[in-house]
Amino acid sequence: MLALLQNLARRLLGPPHRYLRWSFSEQHNPLNHLGSLSIFFCWVVLVSGIWLLFFFRTSVTGAFESVHYLATEQWYLGGMMRSLHRYASDALVVTLFLHIVKEFSRNAYRLKRWFSWATGIPLIWLVFLLGVSGYWLVWDELAQYVAITSAELIDRIPVFTDKMAANFLRPSLLSDRFFTLMAFLHLIGLPIFLVFGIWLHVFKLSRPRINPTRRLMAGTLIALLLLAATFPAPLQEKADLARVPQVVQLDWFYLHFYPLVDRWSPGAVWSLLLGLSGLLFVAPWLPPGKAPAVAVVDLDNCNGCQRCAEDCPYDAVQMAARSDGKRYQQEAVVDPELCVSCGICVGACPTATPFRRKSALVPGIDLPDLSMRQLRETIDNVTEIPTRVLAFACSDSAELRWLKKNGKPCVEVTCAGQLPPPFFDYVLSKGLARRILVSGCDGDCRFRFGSRWTEMRLRRERDPHLRRRVGAHRITLASSSDSTSPAGIASLWRELDNAIDEDES
């Protein structure tokens, strides 16, 4: 069931991902920057919001007039800012939704990775509360609808005995204090919680990607500006409590569930919202599973070089004072609560080299479930060896399924980043294969840094380096694990095979 849903999510993201990879390149692919794009939209909302704040008046009569002034008389600046504010917050809902789908599709929320997921859920509520309170402030016909319907929802909470909605049914009952309250929530209260919430959301991750690439930010900003200039955000008629608008133009990104309050009942809508949030909350353990064994440090082989701690995407390795009396200052210590068993630390360890005697092949840090020694045995035993092309494939990759189905020689790893460069050296210099295909996830590794670190290590930009004599051109990093079509991987395989003949001629 879970696998089915995740597969569905991947299939949905697959075609757009391939298109965007073609047009943007994997590095700038927006689908690889959904979290950071969401933050970027928050920035746009913040900056444009500050401009609006200068002109906004928090009173029954002043609110609409001040917005109207911005939209009409100051259209060139205030109107632009208003449109940016509106469209960036809408775009935020879209990237937020895709962000959730993507993290879901690649299992980045399960078991030990529950923290980012669980702290994401209050962010959804905050974003929606911000949206709703924002629409309330404008005090046009939409705001009137939002105010009444929101009040009906609030009135359903058993704590309040007075009906808040009653205040919006007669002009004489309306007072400025609602605007003061909403303005406080929208301008100060909720944004503070949002900033704190985002910080909490990423704080356990090592090097969280807060900003998209510069090019992506520039492109997004230009597109937003163009949209704001061509289609200024509409403003509806001024609210009038003596009337009921026949039709309201809803912002469906924020208000899609509002019609349900009318069609069902406030109680039913609360059940839906709370039910969905609850389901999201328990999702990391649905169904409960057993986490794979965590990375283990072998002190005899650890020289305290810190590379594993540097490379771990989950900050699961800490350096501690040496405990075994060796002359090194530090040693690596794995926090089993944080370690997700990706193996990226193994790929970073200078002692993980298959050139060592088989009996001694115990690196400073290793995955018990798929150790360096096991990996070397697998290579030594690949039946087709020596082979023309040998593939190393991340166990989650689409390529792996294709390779297995088509009987190509391949070795399964937890993550491309699990392979230290000496491994490729070993395969090539021992003549076990002439070319190597490494298949992980290019731009957006499911373990965050696997492909990035591998690429840098091969380019000799990050320790441990691939030795010069190996010839980096003989190692090819395949594309993303969740979006490669069978046809794509087949043609890549043929390309590599042909390249061997070219190497020789």
């Binding site: 943007f24 809408d90 009906k163 049914l169 997004t220 509409p234 009337r243 608008p245 026949q246």
Partner: protein, 167 residues
Amino acid sequence: MRLIGQALAFAAFFAFVATFSAGPGFELLAEDEALLSLSFSHAAARVGECTRLSQQELQQLPPNMRTPDQCPRGRHPLDIELRIDGVTVYAAVIPPSGFHADGKATVYERVRLGAGPRHLQLRINDAGGAPQGGLIASRQLHVQPGQNIAVFLDADNRRIVFEQGEP
């Protein structure tokens, strides 16, 4: 070529954003409808009369509770019925709020009604059906489409108000 691809991607994304940012419209009322909002809070009559305790009875109470007048705190529920053109569209018996059932009862109901001449009648009883709690008012209105007609009890003056918004 790829730049055009990028532009297309941005265009598609923001076209989607703009499309659903303000619309399609959601119909709150049909063309020829108005809305009647029945909404007010009211503290109904107390359930019983206060009784004066005798000196003896007072002595039996703990010292901090020795008030000579003992009043039952509870209130009656609010019995309410709204009719439009003789048809009951809303009828309810609303209990008082509060832990001791001594607070206000709150009515909140919105009813769609067709435009045109309408005869509205609101009946309230706030004393458990006793005649002194009965209030009734009717009004012949010419309802305009899109109007919000507020109907409520002005408790201070014990009268029912029909407030018809400007069309």
